[in-house]
């Protein structure tokens, strides 16, 4: 297409009324999932339940009750528990690790590759870019949690019998119900990671060095969990973003206890609003010099 042909086209061929940013969000998500790094992280997460299942399958002796992560002793009797153990093991470190990488990379990564200035002069709009980046991180949280849950269910079904699941309360539920509960737990953990994502987004606006933002985010997730385990600081505990991370066990009670789901959602909302506001303040007033 030559220049004169392009010029002959009506203006609407190039410009339309400003979109909400859905094309940008779609592009953001597609860029995220076209990175080899993203797939490597999802694959490593999926590997966790696979390793657990293999370890249980290959050891002849049943793990003693009450030792090791919760539910581990049930894996050999019911493959569906591989998902639960996988999620339980991933929540304290592996999931925050991957989410920290993605959230810390949001703005700092664009700044370091030099694409941030081109996005801004496109113009993407700083607030819009911030929202799109956050939403893409949230999508990654869903993907990360689901890759543990789904890989766990698949390997569990392949290596172990599948049957009714015993809840913490001692009641048993059918396989269909247990899949619903698995999805609820995945939703719970995804919500749990949203506050950390917001913190990572804010830290990412502070620097042009993505690795620094990633490391800081991950370290904060560890610090929060350490503080949460110190009884001397119990006044602080309900305010720590990791406080309800393991509360998803309440979804394995009969009847389901929604209290921790609600408290967790409220707490994460608080973190999203606070760190979203900080990220907004920082990013919209920042000189882009990278």
């Amino acid at each position: 297409m030559s220049r004169s042909e392009v010029s002959a086209l009506p203006d609407t061929a190039f410009r339309s009324r400003p979109a909400l940013g859905l094309p940008l969000l779609a592009s953001e998500i597609s860029v995220l999932f076209r990175r080899r790094r993203t797939w490597a992280m999802l694959a490593s997460l999926a590997l966790i339940p696979v390793l657990i299942a293999l370890a249980v399958r290959l050891t002849s002796s049943r793990p003693p009750s009450g030792r090791g992560p919760a539910f581990l002793d049930q894996v050999s009797q019911n493959g569906l528990f591989v998902s639960f153990v996988g999620l339980l093991v991933s929540v304290p470190l592996f999931l925050p690790l991957t989410v920290g990488v993605v959230a810390g990379d949001t703005i700092a990564g664009e700044a370091s590759s030099g694409t941030l200035r081109y996005l801004l002069i496109a113009p993407a709009g700083r607030t819009r870019l911030l929202i799109v980046k956050y939403l893409a991180t949230a999508v990654f949280c869903v993907a990360a949690t689901l890759s543990v849950a789904i890989a766990g269910a698949l390997i569990g079904a392949a290596l172990f019998p599948i049957g009714p699941v015993t809840l913490l309360s001692g009641d048993s539920i059918a396989v269909g119900d247990s899949i619903v509960r698995s999805l609820l737990i995945a939703a719970y953990i995804t919500v749990s990671l949203l506050g950390l994502s917001a913190i990572g987004l804010f830290i990412s606006t502070m620097t042009d060095v993505p690795v620094g933002a990633m490391a800081t985010t991950i370290v904060l997730s560890v610090v929060s969990q350490v503080l949460d385990s110190l009884p001397q600081l119990d006044w602080l505990h309900p305010w720590l973003f990791s406080h309800y991370w393991l509360g998803f066990a309440d979804l394995l009670r009969q009847p389901i206890s929604w209290d921790s789901f609600g408290s967790n959602a409220l707490l994460q909302c608080g973190y999203i609003v606070v760190f979203g506001a900080l990220a907004f303040g920082r990013f919209t007033t920042k000189d882009i010099l990278s």
Binding site: M1, R3, V6, S7, L9, T12, A13, F14, R15, S16, R17, P18, A19, L20, G21, P23, L24, A26, S27, V31, R34, R35, R36, S113, G114, T115, L116, R117, Y118, L119, L120, I121, A122, P123, A124, G125, R128, L129, T285, D287, I288, L289
Partner: protein, 318 residues
């Protein structure tokens, strides 16, 4: 006279940017006429790129005002930037995406860009910079010159009223540099205002209509090229002991002899309205028994002018 805003594609008023105690841009009053090819010159580190960042709303000015395409920046940023294509401080791309995917991605960032024509626009932009053959190749496999072209292609995704090109020929081979120059001429011919910065004077001199010179954060000169070269243009330098005879001959050609220099050996004369053929002038001098030891026509390059303005040569970093 205060010109109407629309006369200028870019206008700044006492534009200043400080980083701590360091003044990167010091009270700059830029006037870029609409439709011009405006050369923005200065050594590395003279504040050119910082000025461009301020113009595009990437950084906020410490003080002063900016108007781009008749609108205030950064207040009207959302309305101004869709009409501005830019290449700032080198290309920036996602190395793990192909060239076409990179352009596609950056185009989605513009909320005004129509998605229906996106694919076609990406293709035509790649074609214009001669990258069609490498469209599907990952950017990490691109050479610096190819990345530079891709950066220009990004600026051309949508017809723009203003193109801001920061060092567009950086990393290009001579052939690539010629191509970029002809592309700029073509775009200018279509009426796009082009603001092109460079530390290499020779690149700009051939394509610009106007220019400004930055030195240590200050704007030291600004105007049309001929204004900058200085009135009068070329002059003759003659080495001869026969001053009076030479003066008489020059007068016949409408030339004016300058006052003698202290050392006396060299004579200078400026041309009148018509520039005569140098061969004819030399023949006439010889015929008038003027001993011609050397005869040169000096055309003052911008370079000479800039050395005067900036007090140093061009490739010297601050």
């Amino acid at each position: 006279m205060i010109p109407l805003a629309s006369e200028f594609a870019i206008r700044t008023e006492s534009l200043t940017k400080r980083f701590g105690s360091q003044v990167a841009v010091n009270s700059v009053d830029l006037r870029v006429p609409s439709g011009a090819v405006f050369g923005f010159l200065g050594p590395n580190g003279s504040g050119k790129t910082t000025t461009i960042r301020l113009l595009l709303g990437l950084a906020s000015a410490t003080s002063g005002e900016i108007e781009v395409l008749g609108r205030r920046m950064p207040g009207d940023l959302a309305a101004v930037l869709p009409e501005v294509g830019a290449l700032v401080e080198g290309p920036g791309f996602y190395p793990y995406l192909s060239g076409a995917a990179n352009l596609y991605r950056l185009d989605t960032a513009d909320g005004h860009a129509t998605s229906a024509t996106r694919r076609a626009r990406v293709q035509s932009a790649l074609e214009r910079v001669g990258l069609s053959h490498a469209a599907g190749k990952k950017v990490k496999a691109y050479s610096l010159g190819m990345k530079q072209r891709l950066g220009i292609a990004n600026a051309l995704l949508i017809p723009r009223r203003l193109l801001v090109l920061d060092e567009p020929t950086n990393g290009l081979d001579p052939q690539g540099t010629r191509e970029v120059r002809s592309l700029i001429r073509l775009l200018a011919a279509e009426g796009t205002t082009i603001f092109v910065s460079s530390h290499l004077l020779t690149e700009i001199e051939q394509i610009c209509t106007d220019a400004a010179v930055m030195s240590v954060g200050r704007l030291v000169a600004q105007g049309t090229l001929s204004e900058l070269r200085g009135v009068g243009g070329a002059r003759v330098r003659l080495e001869s002991p026969d001053r009076d005879a030479a003066s008489a001959v020059f007068a016949r050609f409408g030339m004016t002899m300058a006052e003698p220099t202290p050392d006396g050996g060299e004579l200078f004369a400026s041309f009148g309205t018509v520039e005569p053929d140098p061969d004819t002038v030399v023949a006439a001098l010889v015929e008038a028994k003027v001993r011609v030891r050397s005869f040169t026509v000096d055309r003052p390059s911008l370079e000479q002018r800039f050395v005067d303005l900036t007090g140093e040569g061009f490739d010297v970093a601050q």
